[in-house]
């Protein structure tokens, strides 16, 4: 590790603005990184822009532009099946990612920054297990287990989908949170404990705020993962429980119309507004 003189470190810590290094450039930029990042963002949004544009297509192709029209939005507004599927997807993703992130946070706290304890590796392997098999396998296994339960109990609600998605989401939340934790050392927590803070207080006022970006990253990731989980949903769903991806899967062999573009655009924009609101609210956390 690099050693530094205390005075220099103190001086730089006191300054609020990004410091200019000895060669006069901002230390926070690395050569080429900003260019690659912006290029990536543009490329990321290029297909999305096409998607949004074609949702206004006069014709019914996703490729041949025939003029501007709101017909697909009208069709989507009238299509109950697709609306219900979309809302169901969002609802499912929200619940699964919330519960999954909470469970993943607790597990990450338990298994990171620690000495080796009995079962630590096993827990790590278990938590990452859903990543390791192709979805079809988990899907069929869940079908069999849940079907037996459904037959035995006669209960057919969304709970099966919720637990299936939650389990699937956990590793996607766990890994970013764990990555975050691994970059935090224990010193702040030890300092808090030295000042007689209880374990809970330490967690709430020291660890959690520091972990927060990792938790956010984990939750966002598991949210989008759940939104796109099609195979597991296909096999676990019961009557009337189509989600947007399973609805679209069915369309694949027939025809895909810009109606799904319209729905996707609506979801994109609602998501944008929702999350923007969320961040406005959490601004106080800083």
């Amino acid at each position: 590790m690099v050693e530094a003189t205390t005075t220099q470190v103190e001086q730089s810590a006191a300054k609020p603005r990004p410091k200019r290094g000895p060669k006069g450039y901002s230390l926070r930029t690395l050569p080429g990184f900003t260019f690659v990042a912006l290029f990536t963002m543009i490329v990321l949004y290029a297909p999305i822009s096409i998607l949004v544009i074609f949702s206004f297509n006069e014709g019914d192709s996703l490729a041949i532009w025939e003029g501007f029209s709101l017909q697909w939005y009208a069709k989507a507004a009238a299509n109950e099946q697709v609306q219900e599927a979309a809302i169901r997807s969002l609802y499912l993703a929200f619940i699964a990612s919330t519960i999954g992130t909470i469970a993943a946070t607790m597990a990450a706290l338990a298994t990171t920054r620690t000495r080796r304890f009995t079962g630590k590796t096993m827990i790590y392997a278990l938590i990452n297990q859903p990543l390791m098999v192709p979805e079809i396998v988990t899907a069929v296994a869940l079908l069999i287990v849940f079907a037996a339960i459904k037959v035995a109990t006669g209960h057919n609600s969304m709970i099966y989908l919720i637990v299936a998605h939650t389990a699937f989401c956990i590793p996607f939340a766990y890994l970013p949170i764990r990555a975050r934790l691994e970059t935090m050392d224990n010193s702040l927590e030890t300092a808090a404990r030295d000042l007689y803070a209880s374990a809970w207080q330490t967690f709430r006022m020291v660890t959690l705020p520091n972990m927060w970006p990792g938790i956010i990253a984990g939750m966002m990731l598991s949210f989008v993962i759940s939104l796109d989980t099609v195979v597991i949903t296909e096999f676990v769903k019961s009557a009337g429980q189509d989600t947007l991806p399973t609805y679209m899967l069915g369309q694949l062999r027939r025809v895909v119309t810009p109606e799904v573009n319209a729905i996707s655009t609506v979801i994109l924009f609602s998501g944008a507004i929702l999350v923007a609101l969320f961040f406005r609210l959490t601004q106080r956390k800083g």
């Binding site: 590790m1 050693e3 530094a4 990004p18 290094g21 450039y25 230390l27 930029t29 690395l30 990184f33 690659v36 990042a37 990536t40 999305i48 096409i50 998607l51 074609f54 996703l62 490729a63 607790m106 597990a107 706290l109 298994t111 590796t121 392997a125 278990l126 938590i127 990452n128 297990q129 859903p130 990543l131 390791m132 098999v133 192709p134 979805e135 396998v137 988990t138 069929v140 287990v145 389990a167 890994l175 970013p176 764990r178 990555a179 975050r180 970059t183 970006p213 956010i216 990253a217 966002m220 990731l221 989008v224 679209m248 899967l249 895909v256 573009n261 996707s264 994109l268 944008a272 961040f279």
Partner: protein
């Protein structure tokens, strides 16, 4: 007296350790229970099925058979019944494996700068950028993939723009090529690389970087020797999140690459579908899972030892 003292404090330490372990287990319990019940547990069904006989029309017959496992590696030639290596399975696996490696590398190349850029934004703007990276993924995979087609096909946006500017005179064939697959996969798996790395960079103590500069390190030297080791956990997490799930990917490769060749995910799906060979499907996926599990555990052991030593 000294002996008893040492003995007792050793005991106390042990008790404290046990209490700590118990506490950690309790914390992990929700995640462990959920996954045991709804992901790993049901897989036991697959383990059982891998030892049964395929049913006539899908599903299984409750008769013990090792064929499922045997057929993953060794099969009889369809026409002359000679025993031979299941080279189809191996070549298909190799294809998926290579694609996963390429995808991981590409997402790293493009994802690391992106994560860096986002994490070095002022707080407040940072979250907006982060969420801008994930918003495209709120749209459906299929719709996104079709939109990507629109970008890269011969009459698509990229070719049209390049033709107009005059850089090229003929459209570049991008659809149905390996480039298209790599592009599509990188696109799909990008957030899985960006978000964990972001989480690691965001915490970076830039004073250490400044200290390096004060000692006349160039920016890139500082990057390789100071920054990279510090954000390694993020890179590892991202790589795991991209590599492992992409082993089973097949929709994107098929839509953009043409689908003439099976990926490992389709091979398994085929067994549960028209192939009507659930035991083989179960055996193939359990083998995959075992291989990945072993690699992961090996990795964890190695890094734990590193931490203990360093």
């Amino acid at each position: 007296m000294a002996d008893t003292h040492a003995y007792r404090s050793g005991e106390l330490e042990q008790e404290a350790e046990l209490a700590d372990t118990r506490q950690r287990w309790l914390l992990s319990l929700p995640a462990v229970v959920i996954i045991m019940l709804f992901a790993a547990g049901p897989l036991l069904v697959m383990v059982v099925y891998s030892f049964l006989t395929p049913g006539d029309f899908g599903n299984v017959k409750w008769e013990f058979s090792l064929d499922g496992w045997k057929n993953t590696l060794v099969q009889r030639d369809i026409f002359d019944d000679t025993l031979m290596w299941a080279d189809a399975h191996l070549s298909i696996f190799w294809r998926s494996f290579s694609l996963s490696v390429i995808t991981t590398v590409l997402t790293l190349i493009f994802g690391l700068p992106t994560a860096w850029f986002i994490a070095t934004q002022p707080p407040g703007r940072r979250e907006i950028w982060l969420f801008l990276v994930t918003v495209p993924f709120w749209s459906n995979l299929l719709v996104r993939t079709i939109a990507i087609q629109e970008l890269i096909r011969n009459e698509g946006v990229i070719n049209l723009v390049l033709l107009k500017i005059g850089i090229i005179t003929e459209p570049i064939q991008m659809m149905f090529t390996d480039f298209a697959i790599a592009f599509g996969m990188t696109y799909v798996y990008l957030p899985l690389m960006v978000l964990p790395i972001y989480a690691a960079i965001e915490k970076l103590d830039f004073r250490l970087v400044e200290a390096a500069h004060d000692l006349y390190a160039s920016r890139m030297a500082a990057f390789w020797q100071v920054i990279l080791p510090l954000i390694k956990p993020g890179i590892i997490a991202g790589s795991i999140l991209v590599f492992i799930p992409s082993l089973g990917a097949y929709v994107t490769p098929r839509v953009l690459g043409g689908g003439k060749n099976l990926m490992f995910g389709n091979l398994i799906e085929l067994q549960f579908g028209a192939g009507r060979n659930w035991p083989l499907g179960a055996a193939l996926s359990l083998m995959l899972m075992a291989a990945v599990m072993v690699a992961l555990i090996y990795y964890v052991r190695v890094t734990s030892r590193e931490k203990a030593d360093g």
